[in-house]
Amino acid sequence: MTYIPNTPAEQHAMLRTLGAETIDDLLGAIPADVRLQGELNLPPALSEPALRRHEMALAGKNLNLDEALCFLGAGSYDRVVPSVVAHLAKRSEFLTSYTPYQPEVSQGMLQATYEFQTMVCQITGMAIANASLYDGSTATVEAALMAVGPGGRGEVLVSRAVDPQYRQTLATYAHARGFTLREIALDGGATSARDLQAHLGPETKAVIVQQPNFFGIVEDMPALEALTHSTTALFVAAITEPASLGVLAPPGAYNADIVAAEGASLGNPIGYGGPALGLFATKADLMKRMPGRLVGETVDDRGQRGFVLTLQAREQQIRREKATSNICTNQALLAVFATVYLASLGRQGFKEMGVQCVQRAHYAFDQVTALPGVRPIFDKPFFDEFAVTLSQPVSAVNRALAQRGIIGGYALDRAYPEQGANAALFCVTEARTRDDIDQLVRAMKEVL
């Protein structure tokens, strides 16, 4: 089956206008020895109703977050998302358009992106933001590349409390691109200022610290920033939980040079981790070194305000091998979701969301750590995630919780083997009610 409208008879008539009889008459340039003989080895076509049934069955094999209470975070967050977000962002005029190369008929996408860039600046406290990157991990990579510079070498320091998947992605690119990546050790779950100081040097191009960090702990960003800026290195704030910006000081306030963040949870489906939404913001004087698309305000030939893709001299389609980055397709539609979402929360709602995360997570922390067999691992302030040691392996506990309709915490030994098999990272966002949390606590009491 296909979505081809023209019938075989119409196609034959079209061929005749070309002086051809069959489609093969148009394929002469494909050498015979590479022409595919026979059909592709693919499953046969399915009708729309059969395909819908097949995929509903596949989807039904997954335990989704509408069926289970999710206490898993670790880089991806279950949020309360108003209905209005998807209704507007999925309008087909946005959904089925390409990158706005013809601005006269793309003002909707361009203006929405300009509003997105502005909102990213508003929540991060930074001067400028781009139109999005693939995800938080690759945004962090782009921050490192921007600091190292085209053709440059040198060293990038990354806190060991940065999301493990981000550090793995950084390592992949560091190896290919030829810069050195070193990890800064931890001290009680937070980035060790002493270890940072020991590693900082003239070769250091960037220092990457996550806020709140992977364990949910609120880092002392001003202290780490001051140490970093005692050298020429750039200070990069990585953020995986954007709700934190409702209550925590924004990176602009502690003089971060670059913010690389994961913005998917701002109104987008969690979607098994993708597509995600890389946020990237920086200082005004770093504008020309910034990767990714930018939308700017201008004026049309009738004197009206309008928007265009701008400063494209940084980008691959103009600069080719001299581009600041190779990114072309980005996450434009997810940026529209985030824009509608942030508008919907607004000034009050964004703060309230952050406050709710803190309060609900601390209520859960008090309840969970009061259980016999559970003790906190760290004693530092946290946002909406906290690490605890259980009396049994996390894998076993999570299996038992799943039978009770609960998705348990992240097994920290997946990335931090020194924490052991019993260490779990729980997440409680604004989407978990007191009843949800009490259910978790009751279930854990049964299980442990």
Partner: protein
């Protein structure tokens, strides 16, 4: 002719839309929970607007945007075909959309199975041994593929190979990706038939070449007849052959890159599998590789158990490592899976055949009025030059803008760079003959206007909500965000109409 205010210029203090759960847990002052110096001093100055204002605002913005659902979108190399509604519904199923990436594998069996099956299908289409769906877009696939090639050469003690060959007609992402992978670029000339200049390739090939990156059919819409010879030459020199899959809509079921001799292939699922493009993204850029490169793929990869279950398997020792967090743009992959299962092998071949027919149909009807620099049968797209119109004072950009007046999007213009006044047209397979005929009629009319009333073209568009925009002002005095007190930019003009590009 109108403008829509920015959302920051709307609303009033105290307005909001979204509601959260009632605060039902005991609360403590924030200052008791978090260090004072870590707290935000001033609220993020987000807009304060009601739900009806938001709905009207974004509805108005959508009405100021043109998508495939609104009309013909012949944007060359972008494959702007119809985006099936079924794909959206499947991606919206809670079992896919409401899944946390770090859930245990036994809670995500359907998701892993879908990725596993999609990888199998993409491998079959490309003629490759194994696919990873991790890359987020075509350019991400390119850098991933180049890192795989780099790791392969290093594993053979040939880490000295530091050069990537790229045809002069290539997409801009190719040289940018190669640079990012720390390679030097050598550009290969295009020959008189529109393919790779084999003699020039022979001159450039040596023991330092890591790879040749090619698009086939290339950006001229021309299938390179010498591909088998090119592959042989590259491999003899110890290099690898990389397939830029931006134009894969031309080859499904007709020829497989693996059979042509390619070692790495990337797909642009937002193009070929119509997932859709979302105004600039998200895409997905899976790569497939030949058997000798499988050990270098990023992980994790989906694996099938003996009992029919599925799990994510960590990559082996030789893997380049992960290229992003989690597994890839999963909901885009769901759409691509839906697309491929709907079509089946016969349907996919018809897709490519019809795309080729539609392109040739347009090319045939336009080549008498517009210059066709490489006059031969095209694949799924073709490139015209507006050099005759330019001689009358009407540029490719003017023609693009004039097309907008007729309710059509414009072709890609000024690309590929090797054709002056290039107009790159890709109709795709999902357009009716009537739409194609209408496009022909409009293009012929615009040519006529270039002779009789060129100002109608050079001052176009006339019917859009805004006219030509001042690109120079935007770049020279960048305004990249709204700030309090900003008045809309108005008559601050820097260049005359018609010069902007």
């Amino acid at each position: 002719m109108s403008t829509e205010p920015l959302i920051f210029e709307m609303g009033a203090p105290g307005r909001r839309a979204a509601t959260l759960f009632e605060m039902d847990v005991p609360t403590r002052p924030l200052i008791d929970l978090l260090p004072a110096e870590a707290l935000r001093q001033d609220d993020a100055p987000l807009p304060e607007v009601s739900e009806i204002e938001i709905v009207r605002h974004f509805t108005h913005l959508s009405q100021r945007n043109f998508g495939v659902d609104a009309g013909f979108y012949p944007l060359g190399s972008c494959t702007m075909k119809y985006n099936p509604k079924l794909n959206e519904d499947m991606a919206g199923l809670p079992g896919f959309a409401r899944l946390h990436p770090l859930q245990d594998d036994d809670q995500a069996q359907g998701a892993i199975e879908l990725v596993y099956r999609l990888e199998e299908m993409l491998s079959a289409i490309a003629g490759m041994a194994r696919v990873t769906v991790q890359p987020s877009a075509g350019a991400h696939g390119e850098i991933t593929g180049l890192m795989v090639i780099k790791a392969y050469h290093a594993s053979r003690g040939e880490g000295r190979r530091n050069i990537v060959l790229i045809p002069d007609g290539a997409h801009g992402t190719n040289p940018a990706s190669a640079t990012l992978a720390d390679y030097e670029i050598r550009e290969i000339r295009t020959d008189a038939r529109g393919g790779v200049d084999v003699d020039h390739l022979r001159e450039l090939l040596d023991e330092n070449v890591a790879a040749l990156m090619m698009t086939n059919p290339n950006t001229l819409g021309v299938f390179d007849e010498n591909i088998v010879e090119i592959a042989r030459m590259v491999h003899e020199a110890g290099g690898q052959l990389y397939y830029d899959g931006a134009n894969a809509n031309a080859i499904m079921g007709l020829a497989r890159p693996g059979d042509m001799g390619f070692d790495v292939v990337h797909f642009n699922l937002h193009k070929t599998c119509s997932t859709p493009h979302g105004g600039g993204g998200p895409g997905a850029g899976p790569i497939g590789v030949a058997p000798h490169l499988v050990p270098f793929l990023p992980g994790p990869l989906p694996a099938r158990d003996a009992d029919g279950g599925y799990h994510w398997e960590d990559a082996g020792e030789q893997s380049i490592g992960r290229v992003r967090a989690n597994y890839g743009n999963f909901l885009v992959l769901v759409r691509a899976y839906t697309y491929l299962r709907f079509h089946g092998p016969d349907g996919l071949r018809q897709v490519s055949e019809s795309a080729i027919l539609n392109a040739n149909y347009l090319m045939h009807a336009l080549k008498d009025l517009y210059t066709l620099p490489f006059d031969r049968t095209c694949m799924h797209e073709f490139v015209l030059s507006a050099n005759q119109q330019k001689a009358r004072g009407v540029t490719a950009m003017d023609i693009a803008k004039r097309l907008l007046d007729f309710g059509m999007y414009a072709p890609t213009v000024y690309f590929p760079l090797i054709v002056p006044e290039a107009i790159m047209i890709e109709p795709t397979e999902t357009e009716t003959r009537e739409t194609l005929d209408r496009f022909i009629e409009v293009m012929r009319q615009i040519d006529q206007e270039s002779r009789t009333e060129p100002a109608t073209v050079t001052q176009a568009p006339h019917t859009t909500t805004v006219g030509r925009l001042d690109q120079t002002l935007a770049a020279r005095k960048p305004r990249l965000r709204w700030s309090p007190g900003d008045a809309p930019r108005t008559a601050e003009k820097s260049v005359p109409v018609g010069v902007s590009r």
